[in-house]
Point group: C2
Amino acid sequence: MPEPTAPDIADLAARLVAGERRALARAITLVESARPDHRAQAVALLAALPPRQALRIGLSGTPGVGKSSFIEAFGLMLTGQGLRVAVLAVDPSSARSGGSILGDKTRMERLSRDPLAFIRPSPSQAELGGVGRRTREVVRLAEAAGFDVVLIETVGVGQSETLVAEMSDLFVLLLAPAGGDELQGVKRGIMEIADLILVNKADGELKATATRTVADYAGALRLLRKRPQDPEGFPKALPVSALEGDGLARAWEEMQALADWRRQTSHFARHRAEQAESWFLSEVRAGLLARLRCEPAAGRLAALGAEVAAGRADPVAAAAEMLAGLK
Amino acid sequence: MPEPTAPDIADLAARLVAGERRALARAITLVESARPDHRAQAVALLAALPPRQALRIGLSGTPGVGKSSFIEAFGLMLTGQGLRVAVLAVDPSSARSGGSILGDKTRMERLSRDPLAFIRPSPSQAELGGVGRRTREVVRLAEAAGFDVVLIETVGVGQSETLVAEMSDLFVLLLAPAGGDELQGVKRGIMEIADLILVNKADGELKATATRTVADYAGALRLLRKRPQDPEGFPKALPVSALEGDGLARAWEEMQALADWRRQTSHFARHRAEQAESWFLSEVRAGLLARLRCEPAAGRLAALGAEVAAGRADPVAAAAEMLAGLK
């Protein structure tokens, strides 16, 4: 990537806001870069963007539930209504392996060719925290680029669902039809953050099982305490068929109804404000800790750490010495 | 507590090293205090202590497995051999409630009256990280005070087992006799950190079940990959009866055999060195982040956070501004 200079950043921001796809792709490459000069440019770019809002939908589904087929069918339905849809992935396993085997664009072939859609695979960074940090910035870029809906998908490994929920307006859990016993297979805590549970594959042989699964989850959801951010009847469980398209329109209606209710009751704005503030705080903390990896702090940290490991210094006293030097 | 001055700290250290119980209790109160002046004195005290070593045994057992009875019986056996035993607790639930209902000393009445034993309940601090931080320092105090064995017990809530394992030389998991199906009830990851699994209540009606449970766990342990820090045959599963005293001597022999092997193969020293270095690093990180809670940083952080929440500033740009001001 050639070096963007300061006027370049203003130009990049303008082209991104005008909806130019190549500008968005370039901006994403910039925020995902680990180079310090790129980081400074990314910060400048983010500060230069206008505050536009898309509906941010977090989506979790383990492999095998038909997540790609669902996103493709759901995304095409939205673009069919003239809506611009961005699909971003938070996938810690891809972060480790350096990308999914098939690739996100292959998984959603028709959607990836749709001029109203934009698909971005998970950045291949070392750790989940880093992936989340960059994804949050890509969401901002997609919003500034004028997308109406930003779908943030995750396979649900480790803490990735919480991470995705923290950057979404609403959170959708996609499940496969299953027997009653398998209900417990849903990770604890996920039921609590889901706004909508969609049971996919409600078609063909699995239709009856899917209907029963929906009823099971609806029952389980009724046992949870009502959250202040939910209107009557939410969280909800619904059947969908990515294969036949059934239930997709209904699911979208429910998402819109929920988002509208939250907008009117100010839960939406409050949630966004809290997310932005918590994002700011975690950026400050991460930035502060990153200084320990820069010279001369890194050298002193290593030297004192070696003294401690050798038993020549007390860990707490050495930490106090290190911190005194950082004043 | 009256204000200890600098000469007081040297005096406190000397009395602690001489094995004076009141000095140890006072030192613990000092390291557990949240007051900044007490913290400075605690750091000075820790730095002044000689590098003595006890055998640090981490012990996890959920309520109902007879952990208190085991610690009492095991501790009395050790003091019966002339060994000095300190019992410390890491209990995040007690940290929330401000102390266990019965109190640790009531739970282990005979051991608490033993002049060779010292029992300290979990500090009632807000969060597990804080509890762990202070417990690590109390372990150091107990070692400097000349204890031969430091037992660090936890109920195993959340990440507390990992925390205890990180400050122990060996980790013991205490379990109750159970049917084959309940084997899976052991939290994933705990089997991997256990050096010794003790199945308690191997007496009376439960003796046969306990024997079968030991065999089940021994089988499960054989399925785990051998770790470099283990001699042949470890991790091991053994039956014990805190009630009748059976198996306690054998368990102690196995612990000593394991510790001796690790000392001879330098795993013991390497593990201690790694623990000390990681303790040092986490102290530095925590200390650095704590500065955000001090003025003027705290005020600027709150002001910028409010700007971000109100949508008047970009989270990343505001974080960059905050960090620039912290230089």
